[in-house]
């Protein structure tokens, strides 16, 4: 890489020489001044040779601004005091160059390895399900997956590939290149984006290029951008959003903010900022931290610049508040709902994750539950064969099996030793129950139908074992304060069956008094003891096959006592053995398909995503904790070649990560130092420099804190790639600090020599980064073949667990 870099420089120089003539009239055009309507200082080159002006100026605004520009240009210029490079460099070339290298690195061997890498397993599968329009459930919002799916669609993906396990090869039907191009492109666009962000924060183009350089040559960002993963997409949206918000701030803070208000650009930056930030949120919920950062910046400006501007009338202030409220609350909500609208209107077919949703939701999907329930009888009658689904929270069905409660529990309490009744999370033959009137013995359903209505008493017969659902005054296995529910077995211990239940339909207003399959929400109240059949949320130990506990609960009025009939058939045959056979072959009364509106679906999905899904990968081998991210203690193995030790391992460029951590500490110490000194009215640096330093803190340090601190308060399993959004801000901070340190050097040492030293140190540092990047490059692309020594050679830290499975 080092060679190409030098070559690029040369090319750069030559090119610039050619362009010199064109560019000279306006040598230090700064992108932030574009279209500002103000003239750029013209005599810059002469000024540059002098020592920086250190005295504080109390001149009017215009000259102050001029000086600031001069200052920053000076910094950039002196950094670049290499003879030929000095004046000739045009700002536009740098980001183009960086972008070019980014595209080259991100797109290099993009379709290799041609097999599933890490979470492509999930995202690829979801993209496939989009092609098939099959519903799936994921706890992250869908935008990122939609983009992947779109790329897949354009690439001709039919969704026929089965994503079974990490490492299995793609076949020709999967447009690997097209799908991986989404993260690769967004990952490459990050680099010009950060370049512009740094310019927007008033840093020189060299610093901006340095930030781009850090992003470009970080192995973790490269690895992440090379496969179908969400982080590059979320980072792209987040950084675009931040950039737009910064542009918006620049308008707010410019001299004639009034004139800019409500202008097209004003609206443009504001709205695009909030839309981009919302998009980040729509890729993964962690994007909310970027959104909050944007909100904090805009809110802070509102507080200071609008509210604190006493020349504005109350009405004007109110108008500004409403505009911002619209941009930052209404628009995001619309975008968010829009993304889900696409999601829900696209995915109309039933699929593998249906059971996470309610019966009605499933019934609204093509071919899923609807294929089972289509045409099944609507009204529950004496002789109905039903499955009873726990209607709220995690899905499970009332279940029993031929096993009894243990005589004694581990805590030495006794049980009734009758047949277990549980709530089982899978569909199973043992979930069938037959509804029966207490006074009737025949079970076959015949006309006229004996409908069951609200308030009537029934018995429930377990389909396979033929025992009745029973409850009695015995403590439940896992919740001793509740009552045990069993299938009655007569042990001859003078414990009579108490197996009559009263049906209470909770949504009678909508459905009516008659018990309907699917739609009626019922409570079963035990007639003898007035307890309700309830799901307790606890799990039974091994003897209960770790199924969920079912109890009789005194507290009737709670969601855990509500069940609904999901599958439903009429009993046709009196003979017990024939009943099984009969289940398949009855002809059913047709039922109208369930139609569920978008909003109902949307809210149900929201609730399930936000509150119910907390599947936790415990004891994953590559988990890490937030503290470890600071020093890169652990990576994540993404993929390993079946033939050699070639592998993909998510690992940052350790040189960058360590310097960024040090830079973070240095920035914080400097900040504390300046604050303490200023408290004593000692101003060590120029006001412009301080303002720049402070703004950096407001945007970058705050951004870092927002994206990092919350991880200390979550209890789900964490991986290294969760750190990347925070890392992005940290890298920017690192670049910013380099310029600030350079400024400090010039402030302290008058001699040119030290400036040179600084540049030299930075260049050395950069070449070090390049070397480390190059060393770990095979782990990004999975280049091989590699033998064990080559892999172990990369193991700089004891805690990095590379996979060595071949000699």
């Amino acid at each position: 890489m080092g060679d190409t870099e030098v070559k690029n420089r040369k090319v750069n120089r030559n090119k610039n020489k050619n362009e010199k003539n064109k560019e000279i009239p306006n040598p230090a055009v700064d992108p932030r001044d574009e279209g500002d309507g103000e003239s750029t200082p013209e005599a810059l080159p002469e000024e540059l040779t002098e020592e920086p002006i250190l005295k504080k100026s109390a001149s009017p605004k215009k000259s102050e601004k001029k000086q600031r520009k001069a200052g920053s240009a000076t910094a950039g210029q002196s950094l670049a005091d290499l003879p030929t490079l000095a004046v000739t460099c045009h700002f536009n070339l740098l980001p183009m160059l960086l972008f070019g290298v980014a595209l080259a690195t991100r797109f290099y061997a993009l379709d290799q390895p041609n097999s599933i890498v890490f979470d492509e397993l999930h995202y690829g599968r979801y993209a496939g399900l989009y092609q098939k329009q099959t519903f799936f459930f994921d706890s992250h919002p869908p935008l990122g997956k939609q983009l992947l799916a779109l790329a897949g669609y354009l690439g001709g993906f039919q969704g026929d590939f089965k994503f079974d396990k990490i490492g299995s090869s793609y076949n020709a039907s999967v447009p690997v290149f097209a799908m991986r191009a989404v993260p690769a492109l967004t990952g490459s666009l990050l680099i010009p984006l950060v370049y512009m962000i740094m310019l927007q924060l008033n840093y020189s183009q060299w610093t901006a290029a340095l930030a781009g350089f850090l992003f470009l040559f970080d192995n973790a960002l490269l690895t992440q951008s090379h496969y179908m993963l969400m982080e590059p997409i979320i980072l792209f949206f987040a950084m675009s959003g931040v950039l737009c918000v910064l542009k918006f701030r620049a308008l707010e803070r410019s001299g004639n903010a009034q004139a800019h208000s409500y202008s097209l650009r004003w609206w443009g930056w504001l709205l695009s900022g909030s839309i981009f930030l919302t998009c980040a949120l729509c890729v993964k919920y962690v994007g909310v931290y970027s959104y909050l950062l944007g909100l904090a910046l805009v809110g802070h400006d509102f507080w200071e610049k609008v509210l604190g501007n006493l020349s504005l009338t109350k009405k004007q202030v109110f108008g500004h508040a409403v505009a911002r409220f619209f941009a930052f609350f209404v628009v995001p909500l619309m975008v968010y709902i829009g993304v889900f609208y696409i999601h829900l209107t696209t995915l109309v077919n039933a699929g593998p994750h249906d059971s996470a949703m309610s019966s009605a939701f499933q019934a609204s999907l093509e071919g899923g539950l609807s294929s089972i329930v289509r045409g099944q009888p609507l009204e529950v009658v004496h002789g109905s064969q039903v499955t009873l689904r726990h209607a709220h929270g995690s899905p499970c069905w009332l279940h029993s099996h031929a096993a009894n409660y243990p005589v004694k529990y581990a805590d030495k309490r006794g049980s009734s030793h009758q047949q277990q009744v549980t709530c089982y999370v899978a569909k199973d033959i043992n979930n069938w129950w037959i509804v029966k009137r207490p006074n009737r013995t025949d079970l076959a359903v015949a006309a006229p139908l004996d409908r069951i209505s609200h308030g009537e008493e029934i018995q429930l017969v377990h389909g396979i074992t033929g025992r009745n659902l029973n409850s009695h005054n015995v403590a439940a296995p896992a919740s001793p304060t509740k009552q045990e529910v069993s299938c009655y077995v007569d042990h001859n211990v003078s414990m009579p069956a108490q197996d009559v239940w009263r049906v209470e339909i909770t949504n009678r207003e909508e459905i009516g008094d008659v018990w309907h399959a699917l739609e009626s929400m019922v409570r079963l109240i035990h007639v003898n003891t007035s307890v309700a059949l309830a799901f307790s949320g606890r799990m039974l130990p091994d003897w209960g096959h770790n199924q969920h506990e079912i109890v009789g609960d005194v507290m009737v009025n709670q969601p855990n006592t509500i069940f609904n009939v999901e599958e439903h058939r009429y009993t046709r045959n009196e003979d017990e053995k024939d009943r099984q056979l009969e289940l398949m072959t009855t002809d059913f009364i047709p039922l109208e398909p369930v139609v569920m509106g978008f909003w109902e679906k949307f809210f149900e999905l929201q609730i399930r995503m936000l509150f119910i899904s907390n599947e936790n990968v415990q004891n994953h081998m590559y988990t890490s904790s937030p503290w470890e991210w600071l020093v890169l203690t652990r990576g994540i193995a993404y993929w390993v070649s079946p033939d050699s030790n070639a592998q993909i391992h998510l690992l940052g460029n350790i040189f960058i990560w360590y310097s960024a951590t040090i830079a973070l500490a240095a920035y914080c110490s400097l900040l504390v130092f300046y604050l303490l000194r200023q408290r004593r009215q000692c101003f060590d640096i120029h006001e412009e420099a301080w303002n720049q330093f402070r703004t950096t803190g407001e945007v970058l340090l705050l951004g870092y804190v927002f994206h990092f601190l919350p991880y200390f308060f979550v209890d789900h399993t964490l991986f290294l790639h969760h750190y990347l959004p925070a890392l992005a801000f940290k890298l920017l901070l690192n670049a910013a600090l380099v310029e600030h340190l350079y400024y400090l050097t010039r402030l302290v040492f008058a001699k040119q020599f030290f400036n040179w030293m600084c540049v030299l140190i930075v260049l050395t540092w950069m070449s070090g980064i390049l070397m480390v990047f190059n060393k770990f490059l095979p782990l990004c692309y999975g280049l091989g073949p590699m033998n064990a020594t080559q892999i172990l050679d990369l193991k700089l830290r004891e805690t990095w667990d590379f996979i060595v499975h071949k000699p």
Binding site: W303, L307, T481, G537, D542, R679, V714
Partner: protein
């Protein structure tokens, strides 16, 4: 306690402002005027006395009921026993709270004879009241402390009264503070620390005076005590730290003083808030370790060298031979801090994780299943009665270890370990000591010479598997339920792993003389540090058990679900007073709104009356700190992966209740101000009297609500029918009483 007049006169500006404000609006009733004014000594003391009487009445009423062990009394009572009997034990909390409970019991003449086996056991003739009274006294002191804290923060008697009342009338506080638990001392120390802090803050105009120093040291003492009761005390340390930084920031900004003045202030705080508390904290541990000088059930959690110092332990008493010989019965202890004993039991690894051989784990409790018989690899173990010369175990020997209870050999083979799948599985294999080649281990004493005899405790060694070349290691990962949540043991190809080092702790071999290892006893600092490592490991290992219902932090402030303290005939159910808890939430939101609106008004330079500014300043600055305190005591629980309980919210409740008191006063005072000016005179009296009526009714209301729920605290007789009075109190379906 300093008399209120004294404080006011010392605090010039505050006093003056209050005076100005109060004089402007007299309402006519002399008593109420004086109450609102609060500077009248007589009234102040009367209110205080009333509050104290009510406190004593509620806290000590039926304190002996229920006369059986309630909830965690089973733990803390037991620990008190250990202190009284001076027996060493292990608990996840630091010692001060338990020491205090032990002390209360001791003063009452309790002799540690009751076993506290499980909740529900009757105390019968045992002296348990001393401990209950001790805890109740500490809990009762919360009321005057909150009263005084609010007083010091605002110098408003109504606010202080409300603050005190809200603590007084909360059932949760009451229930929690009546039993033998760690919470009463902890809450006491926390609120004492806060009180000292505001008191110290009010001394800021006469720095380095005697009261200044004494309140500063008082903060330090209370801080170290709260940490020494439970580690959550660390949050109040952070709280005080924030306040201290803010104070120092103020001092630094005073340009009339040199920087050295700030440094002086900083040094004073460093001494009183860092150095002294640290010493005190260590002192508490010193007492803890000095008192618990007898061997007990907690020994096994600590290293062998730690145990030497415990009377009755075989290492202390010299009931263990120094050298290890073949045929001896050994226990092996993992030599890292908080390492446990090599253990096996008559249970197999589950089928699905490779081979149904017997489990090998580590286990921290002392148990017969920790005993291993050491044999040469090719011989049977010599009998203890044999007369042949003693065959010592030497460095480099090949040996087998036979599990004494089950007769299986310690065995490793080329299968994946159950959790750390990069390492090899270790099992128990063979029958009555007959196994195969994979049972052979080589002894490698750390820094040992070839042929050196292995010595009990003193030598740290590795066991290297003869065939695989891996080292016997405890990975410190918990096995799932099938392994009884003991720690996993593997054979680790990385032989340098620090967890692969073991030592011999118990060594039974009658043919060798027993010696004592007292010369190798650890000194206090080593014991202090080891105690902490063990405590912290123990704390983070408190994970919710599978299927166990855990309380989630979001449920706490809304008082969603309480906690059973006692079942049976006399139920006690920990539940907050819903009116207070929900009111607290309302006031917290109200504070935020107030804060923003005041901010906007300041920013827009909207002028308000002097009195309003005065009121706002009083309420806002005090409430800001209390809000921060609440946040610091509540938010961290969101990030904790250990098992959480409802009662963890109570320190935060202290803050939010005090804040509600202040804001209630603010609301009552500022309602008349918000009326238009022209109708001011006419409506003023009406508004005030209405306010006072509300105020009065509110008190009545509090009492009524308090009365309604009081059976929860004092124990309610389990109701049989749904018509019982308690049935109407099921305001939320999640309340389980």
């Amino acid at each position: 306690m300093t008399a209120p007049t004294l404080i006011c006169s010392k605090n010039q500006e505050n006093g003056l402002n209050i005076k100005k404000m109060k004089n402007s609006d007299s309402i006519g009733f002399k008593l109420l005027d004086q109450f609102r004014d609060g500077r009248n000594d007589k009234i102040w003391w009367r209110v205080f006395a009333l509050l104290m009487i009510a406190t004593v009445a509620t806290r000590f009423y039926k304190l002996d009921q229920p006369d059986h062990v309630c909830w965690d009394e089973a733990h803390f009572g037991k620990y008190a026993n250990f202190y009284i009997n001076r027996t060493f034990f292990f608990d996840v909390h630091p010692p001060l709270g338990k020491m205090l409970i032990g002390l209360f019991g001791y003063l009452d003449g309790y002799n540690g004879s009751f076993h506290f086996d499980k909740p529900g056991d009757k105390f019968e003739e045992h002296q348990y009241m001393g401990m209950r009274i001790g805890c109740a006294v500490m809990g009762a002191l919360l009321v005057p402390l909150s009263f005084l804290t609010v007083w010091e923060m605002t110098f408003s008697l109504p606010a202080a009264t409300f603050g005190g009342l809200l603590i007084l009338l909360d059932h949760g506080m009451l229930t929690l503070n009546r039993f033998i638990l760690l919470d009463p001392p902890m809450l006491f120390f926390i609120s004492a620390a806060i009180y000292s802090m505001v008191k110290f803050h009010n001394q800021r105009h006469r720095p380095f005076s005697l009261p200044w120093w004494s309140w500063l040291s008082s903060i330090g003492v209370m801080l170290s005590c709260s940490v020494a009761v439970k580690f959550v005390g660390i949050f109040v340390v952070i709280f005080v730290g924030c306040r201290t930084i803010a104070d120092l920031w103020e001092i630094l900004g005073d340009l009339s003083r040199p920087v050295s003045y700030t440094v002086k202030h900083f040094m004073a705080r460093a001494i009183c808030l860092i150095a002294m508390p640290t010493l005190l904290y260590m002192g508490i541990f010193y007492i803890h370790l000095a008192v618990l000088s007898n061997s007990g059930p907690g020994d096994g959690f600590y290293s062998s060298a730690f145990q030497v110092g415990l009377k009755g332990n075989y290492l202390h008493d010299g009931s263990t031979p120094r050298q290890v010989a073949y045929g001896a019965l050994l226990t092996l202890k993992n030599a890292v801090t908080s390492g446990a004993y090599l253990h096996s039991h008559d249970h197999l690894y589950p089928e699905e994780i490779g081979g149904s051989q017997q489990q090998i784990t580590t286990y921290a409790h002392k148990d017969d299943n920790n005993n291993w018989h050491v044999k040469r690899h090719n011989k049977l173990a010599p009998s203890w009665n044999s007369t042949r010369p003693i065959d010592f175990v030497r460095n480099g020997d090949l040996l087998r270890l036979e599990h004494f209870a089950t007769g299986r050999n310690l065995h490793a083979h080329r299968s994946l370990a159950p959790i750390t799948i990069k390492q090899f599985q270790v099992t128990g294999y063979g029958l009555d000591g007959v196994g195969d080649n994979n049972d052979i281990w080589r002894l490698e004493i750390e820094d040992g010479e070839e042929g050196q005899i292995l010595e009990t405790m003193l030598h740290r060694f590795r066991l290297i598997h003869y065939n695989l070349g891996c080292a016997l290691t405890c990975t410190k990962k918990k096995l799932p339920a099938w392994g009884f949540e003991q720690d996993e043991v593997t054979c680790n190809p990385n032989r340098r792993d620090p967890n692969a080092i073991w030592n011999i702790e118990e060594n039974i071999y009658p043919r060798l003389p027993n010696v004592s290892f007292r010369a190798y006893e650890k000194n206090f600092f080593q014991r202090f540090i080891e105690s902490h490592v063990v405590l912290i490991n123990g704390n983070s290992a408190l994970k919710p058990k599978e299927g166990e219902a855990t309380s989630k932090p979001w449920m706490w402030p809304i008082n969603l679900r309480g906690q059973f303290f006692s079942g049976g005939q006399l139920q006690v159910y920990l539940l907050g007073n819903p009116i207070i808890w929900w009111g607290n939430l309302v006031f917290m939101v109200f504070y935020l709104i107030l804060w923003v609106s005041v901010g906007v008004r300041t920013k827009r330079r909207i002028t308000v009356t002097q009195r309003e500014i005065m009121l706002q300043e009083r309420a806002l600055s005090a409430c800001g700190w209390l809000w921060l305190g609440w946040l610091l005591h509540y938010l961290p629980f969101w990030g904790m992966s250990r098992v959480l309980y409802f009662h963890h919210y109570f320190p935060a409740l202290l803050f939010s209740s005090m804040m509600s008191g202040i804001l209630l006063d603010y609301v009552i005072e500022s309602i008349p101000l918000s009326l238009p000016k022209n109708s001011f005179n006419a409506s003023y009296a009406a508004i005030l009297s209405a306010t006072l009526l509300i105020l009065f009714y509110r008190q009545v209301f509090f009492h009524w609500i308090f009365y309604l729920f009081s059976p929860l605290v004092y124990g309610l007789v389990r109701y049989a029918d749904t018509n019982s009075t308690m049935h109407h109190l099921h305001w939320l379906s999640t309340w389980e009483f």
